[in-house]
Symmetry: C2
Subunit: 143 residues, 2 copies
DNA sequence: ATAATTGCAAACACTTTGCACCTGT
DNA sequence: ACAGGTGCAAAGTGTTTGCAATTAT
């Protein structure tokens, strides 16, 4: 993984540029296709999937599988977070969809535990903690 | 959720019984279909999906969406664990696809941390740790 | 020149649905 | 009797793939 693309194509450029524009939001492969179709410069869906895949491999974009049967979400990795050795984890609220960035130390302990006791090398780029955020958790409890 | 089924059918009985037998393992809807086909008592896949769905609604079975593009996994909720908030976490190897069950205590700490320090209520059913398993991690390093 | 990328359409895998028939109550 | 369940086949989704044409180096 993390292999560089060989050629710099028009499609790659505009897809990356679009995904940068939408920083902070989650977009799906379909969103990308739709966007370029609307722009009058459609890109084949196979290309979109392939480019997104390689952007993920390169660590430029994160991919989240929210759940089976809903399309995968992609999100630009904020500048500065690249290659940061996985200091940033993400937690996503299942209720409101909010994405929380976890930069804290504690989280790293789980990584060490998995590594030491289970021999499992955790990949923070791909791992998302799902659950309920503070607000939504409160609502849930008050019901 | 947690609505009771109306009728007690043959299919429901045997599906539940099979899923109890496989406690501790993850099985897919396809596994269930295959099993009964091999037994010479096939059950329509629509029925399997529908019954699994209601077992999940009833809290008798847990469903895990490991990732898009691989089938959903089902697992019998061990007696006594019902409603117990789920003690089992999962780690999936990005390389070989192996799924590891994490039943250990340590993992629960992350849950407490997220809850106490971030107000985030982690959902173990939905959360999957991605990374490299022991074997694949070794291979990676030896390259 | 030649290796990679594109894009179409077809293939795929998993899951859901429509509907006529069967079963449990 | 009749609500509910079954099972087939068909439709739906999201994603991947084969391959000939195109493009970047």
């Amino acid at each position: 993984m993390t292999m560089k693309p060989k050629y710099k194509t028009k499609q790659r450029e505009v897809i990356l540029s679009y995904i940068k524009q939408t920083s902070g939001k989650h977009i799906t492969a379909g969103d990308v296709c739709d966007y370029f179709k609307e722009q009058g410069t459609p890109i084949g869906q196979a290309t979109v999937y392939r480019q997104l895949e390689s952007l993920v491999d390169e660590g430029i974009v994160n991919k989240y599988n929210i759940d089976a049967n809903s399309p995968a979400c992609f999100e630009y990795v904020a500048d500065g977070e690249h290659d940061s050795d996985g200091i940033c984890f993400h937690a996503k609220c299942e209720e409101c969809g909010k994405l929380i960035h976890l930069h804290c130390e504690e989280i790293l302990k789980i990584r060490d535990h998995l590594s030491e006791d289970h021999g499992f090398v955790l990949d923070p780029k791909r791992t998302v903690f799902y659950g309920l955020c503070e607000e939504c958790g409160k609502e849930e409890r008050s019901r």
